[in-house]
């Protein structure tokens, strides 16, 4: 009897085990289906937070199109639309205002002793050529460049969309092509004038004396005074920066990405507006600011008295050294 029970127990146990296994199997078979197939999927927000841009692989030859998203353009937009306009507006208008106030206050700084009638050669024909090559291309680049930033809000409304677009397209082409002339100008300028523009103790004295701009005599200076040296180095450093970043922008995707070009544009435009505002002082001093200065860049000569008052050390060099070497005489009757 006990044997029969034992058999039954065994059968019942086997059945129970079979039931458990049979019911458990489908559960195990369904296991993969309950996994979220999206769990390992790339997530947009996560990628943007990690990389600030989303890049993958594509099948078209245009490799730069493999960047799916780069929202950084938004910061560049903010810079271009707001920050740059403020920087440009403040520096350019501020500088014009300062110069206007200065002119109303001091007027044209005269040659105290009057013209002597004797002239000294200040810039030879090559120096003048290099100056005007750089100057003319700088003015063209400045106007066409400012047009890209300020044209839409300042000129477009009264010029009309069609006419403004035609002008802006020509401006863009000139900006692209004239850049080469400007580059040559800056390089030559560096070569011919760098030796005269090394800062010296005399420049320190010149700056201490305010350069004679705020009353008193102009402190002694060599061929270039402290202010002119400052303008020279602004042109070299500022010019160098706009040239390098300009060429990066002129050749899109040659070793740069979109973010590289955005950065290049930011440097290019900020340096450019600062450069333009600095050049206003140079243009002012070279024209209406100082009597007898402009002719140095026209026929290359300056009046001997101007040289004595403005660049006494240079005047001494020129007159005491080998006379006639860099000296030109003009008839006093002129």
């Amino acid at each position: 009897m006990a044997k029969v029970f034992a058999h039954l127990r065994l059968i019942a146990g086997a059945l129970a085990l079979a039931f458990v296994v049979a019911t458990a199997m489908p559960v195990a078979a369904q296991q993969p289906n309950s996994v979220n197939p999206n769990a390992a999927a790339v997530k947009e927000q996560q990628l943007l937070q990690q990389l600030n841009k989303i890049e993958g692989r594509g099948t078209i030859p245009d490799v730069k199109s493999y960047v799916l998203e780069h929202p950084a353009g938004r910061e560049w937009r903010e810079f271009h639309g707001v920050t740059l306009k403020w920087i440009g507006g403040i520096f350019i208008l501020g500088m014009l205002a300062l110069l206007t106030i200065y002119y109303l206050w001091r007027g044209t700084l005269p040659i105290e002793e009057g013209r002597s009638g004797r002239v000294i050669l200040r810039f030879n024909v090559f120096e003048r050529f290099v100056h005007w090559l750089t100057a003319v291309s700088f003015v063209i680049l400045g106007i066409t460049g400012l047009n890209i930033t300020f044209g839409r809000s300042l000129i477009l409304p009264w010029m009309g969309a069609e006419a403004f677009s035609t002008w802006a397209e020509w401006a863009k082409f000139s900006h692209n092509y004239v850049s080469f002339a400007f580059t040559i100008g800056v390089v030559l300028m560096f070569l011919i004038w760098v030796a005269n523009n090394i800062p010296t103790r005399a420049d320190l004295e010149w700056f201490k004396g305010g350069g004679g701009m705020f009353g008193g005599k102009e402190p002694p200076a060599y061929k270039f005074n402290g202010g002119e040296k400052l303008i020279f180095w602004i042109s070299m450093i500022g010019g160098g920066l706009v040239i390098v970043t300009g060429f990066v922008l002129l050749f899109p995707f040659y070793g740069t990405s979109v973010s590289g070009m955005e950065l290049a544009q930011i440097i290019h435009s900020v340096v450019a507006v600062l450069y333009v505002s600095a050049m206003f002082t140079h243009i002012y001093m070279g024209t209406i600011g100082v009597e007898g200065a402009f002719e140095a860049m026209v026929d290359g000569t300056v009046d001997a008295n101007w040289a004595k008052e403005r660049h006494s050390l240079w005047h001494a060099e020129e007159t005491q050294g080998s006379v006639g070497q860099a000296q030109a005489m003009r008839q006093p009757a002129e």
Binding site: N38, V67, E69, G73, R74, S165, N176, V258
Partner: protein, 198 residues
């Protein structure tokens, strides 16, 4: 009016590039210009997803904001279009665009760009609807014919949706609810500052 948008359901895209081909053919887009492209992320790895991307026709479009000649305009359907007559090819819209949508034919010396070209949501340009001039500059104007963009229309898996924002968002939500997952409307947060809650 409708607020037109694209939505690419990345969980459905099989990277067949039919949208790219359809677009190029429909608008006779020149060689080297791709108004639409498919980008595959995590290629060959678990969680790989492909997304078809073109101009997203952003709300407060960055391209329009930075354009120096103001050549962009937004239609009543919220499609961002531009005038190739006004465009000067400066490339600023490309710097500002989060989606790499603007394309430029390479013309002339060094890197000079020609007139910008981009996805029009099959809505042409400022010229008269379906005129010869419009077709030559911007391609077909399917919207004026009452049709939706061809890329989405012929998507084999219906991954790429184009149409009114509310309608396509609803379709996507239903899909996500039914299948239980969805990797979101790619680009919507960047383009429209909003996403589809799923």
């Amino acid at each position: 009016m409708a607020r037109m948008k694209f939505l690419c359901d990345a969980d459905r895209c099989i990277e067949c590039n039919a949208c790219v081909t359809a677009c190029k053919n429909e608008h006779e887009v020149p060689w080297g210009i791709n108004r639409r492209r498919v980008v595959t992320l995590n290629d060959g790895k678990p969680g790989e997803r492909s997304i078809s991307m073109a101009c997203m026709h952003c709300t407060d479009a960055p391209c329009a904001a930075v354009c120096p000649v103001n050549c962009f305009y937004t239609t009543a359907d919220a499609v961002v279009l531009h005038s190739k007559d006004l465009c000067i090819g400066c490339g600023y819209c490309f710097y500002a665009c989060p989606f790499g949508a603007p394309q430029y034919p390479k013309v002339g010396n060094f890197g000079s760009r020609g007139k910008m070209d981009k996805c029009t949501f099959c809505a042409g340009g400022p010229e008269a609807d379906n005129s010869k001039e419009e077709y030559e500059k911007y391609g077909a104007n399917r919207l004026a014919e009452g049709k939706l963009p061809l890329c989405a229309e012929m998507c084999s898996t219906k991954s790429l949706l184009a149409g009114d924002s509310d309608v396509i968002a609803q379709i996507y939500k239903e899909r996500v609810a039914k299948r239980g997952y969805g990797s979101g409307a790619w680009g919507w947060q960047t383009a429209y500052r909003e996403n589809i809650a799923t």
